[in-house]
Symmetry: C2
Subunit: 349 residues, 2 copies
């Protein structure tokens, strides 16, 4: 979901960017016009997340799935090892991909309770020889979110923030590498943002494809080859909107209120059951069910008639999922709660 | 460059795609709406290039640079070898990347005459043990183009068509794999199209990242992860326009006339010197110079004042380059020739 104002801004200059006679979609990535868009967007993101000079921002392609490979290929070292927290589908896939390139130890696995919780710091088993510790900050499918930053001593933290980046302040210095597929909270699908501590680059395996070498990408300022220009431009527009909303601090207060409204309703409902355990609940993806698959299906069908789209849960979990990314207004949640109340009444609850 | 009509069509529905209440940039890639766009675009491309059922079309990310690695990782086999034709910068980079994964033999190298020509069939030295033969159909930097399809007997042909795809009919059955970064003739930067003979997939090296496995990508119909939805949508609009122009056959007659106009002028000019040798000249990128760097710089400066953008040659070659991709109208070439004539007069030629 994107704010109407952002879409309107893109619409107004899609055929002719600032009287250049060109669409951003037509620009050479080496042109002065695009170089300015690229540099300005990077400055805006650096400001929005308060990225320190020790870290480099990369604008890449390939999504999280590409990073699943790039991270071990760059950070594991020859015959190295890494520690993974498995708290959902994507961290599990990341761990499996890393096994191709070195030794993977599982610091925790929440599969024992259907990924309905985030393990506590005391439950993390992190091998002291790990080259990095990997976790996924927010699990879209199960609706859980890490509400603390793991303490790993000197082991670099690597975090997939695809689904909660820009939703709250983050101390970037705590992380060796942060990455995010842009399509949840940042920009249209097709852009991946990596924020990397530059001191970690330059140690890639010999089989690492050039397009995945952080060292090369840092040296080329993300321009080893043509970047996804339109998505980078759209990210710039989204960051302007973010700033107008009070930046990540503004987003944090909005998202907390938005999620609280839905969880409060769920906790008091006699029909709907929230999936995630208290203390591990995601502010971005709220997962719930009735406990009756046919009733869930009824609910999803009715929701789309009420203009509530994409409410069906992921195929791995079933049930329902409300995704409350940055651009979702409180009215969206109110409409959903209204429909849930109506559904309860219709089903004599 | 994109046709005005394509940009206008995108503009008209950028905030609300066909009364869905959603922008294509907001759609889930798993939604029915986007699934239809994806499937329709694939059908349009299959029709435009007459792709046989033996071949699969993939819509990917990462550009040619990612394919430089993906091709050997998938097609070379353990301890395998491949044969590369080096006729410019990009085929040279592709060959170097392949050396990470197996034995590379160079079938030809046109560096001896500054990549101003394409070697003849009789000059190609293709080892009989090669798993594939790789070439780049059109060399954007040097302005040369293969005007024949190499005969490699049973060795699969792999071709980078980034800069001349959709400019002429191609017999896809001749090729094991065709790929193209979309940003020249197809769609905005951020989409890579791969057309692969399905029988070649499934033999990737153990270190091949999942995101590069053609076998996996074929099985997942390009949806291993979120695809670049907006670029795929734009490709669909471009293919509608292509069809309205008579398809690839229509494009072929237009591009031949367009390039001939410029080469005819160059061959008769006493000031400007074409770079590429006759018989090897590209219809997509026409490279030329005056032989005097200061004069070249004057020409480039003046060109932008005449609305002729991006005429500066690549930093590897200097001089000038006119890129005549599909969306370039004949008027663009006429304006360039007009300016060149004026420049000659001003310099007393």
């Amino acid at each position: 979901m994107m704010p109407e104002s952002v879409l309107k801004a893109a619409q107004s200059e899609i055929t002719d960017y600032r009287s250049s006679g060109m669409s951003v979609m037509e620009m050479s990535h080496r042109s002065k016009l695009f170089a300015d868009i690229f540099a300005e967007t990077k400055v805006k993101l650096k400001k929005a997340l308060n990225v320190p000079d020790s870290h480099e921002i990369l604008f890449l392609q390939g999504g999280a799935t590409l990073q699943f490979a790039a991270i071990p290929l760059n950070l594991m070292g020859e015959c190295g090892s890494a520690s993974y927290a498995v708290t959902g589908n994507f961290s599990n896939l990341a761990a499996k991909e890393a096994e191709k390139y070195g030794k993977v130890s599982i610091a925790c696995n929440s599969a024992d309770r259907d990924h309905s919780y985030i393990p506590a710091q005391s439950e993390l088993k992190i091998g002291s020889d790990a080259e990095y510790f990997y976790y996924c900050a927010n699990n879209t499918i199960y609706g859980t979110e890490w509400h603390y930053v793991p303490d790993t001593k000197d082991i670099p933290l690597v975090c997939d923030m695809s689904s909660d980046i820009l939703s709250k302040p983050v101390n970037v210095s705590d992380f060796g590498l942060i990455y995010a597929g842009a399509q949840k909270n940042m920009a249209p699908a097709g852009l991946t943002v990596v924020i990397i501590d530059k001191s970690l680059a330059g140690n890639e395996l010999s089989v690492c494809p050039s397009v995945m070498s952080y060292d090369t990408l840092i040296k080329k300022d993300s321009m080893l080859n043509t970047p996804p220009c339109w998505c980078i431009y759209m990210l710039g527009l989204m960051l302007d909107w973010l700033e107008s909303m009070g930046g990540v601090a503004g987003m944090e207060s909005i998202k907390s209120a938005r999620a609280a409204k839905l969880y409060d309703f769920l906790d008091n409902s006699k029909l709907f059951i929230p999936h995630a355990e208290r203390g591990s609940r995601s502010d971005m993806n709220v997962t719930f069910r009735t406990g009756n698959d046919a009733l869930d299906a009824d609910f999803v069908r009715g929701a789309s008639k009420h203009g509530l789209l994409n409410i069906k849960g992921h195929r791995l979990t079933g049930g329902m999922r409300a995704s409350l990314y940055n651009a979702m207004p409180m009215e969206g949640v109110e409409a959903l709660v209204g429909y849930m109340k109506q559904f309860e009444v219709e089903h004599n609850v």
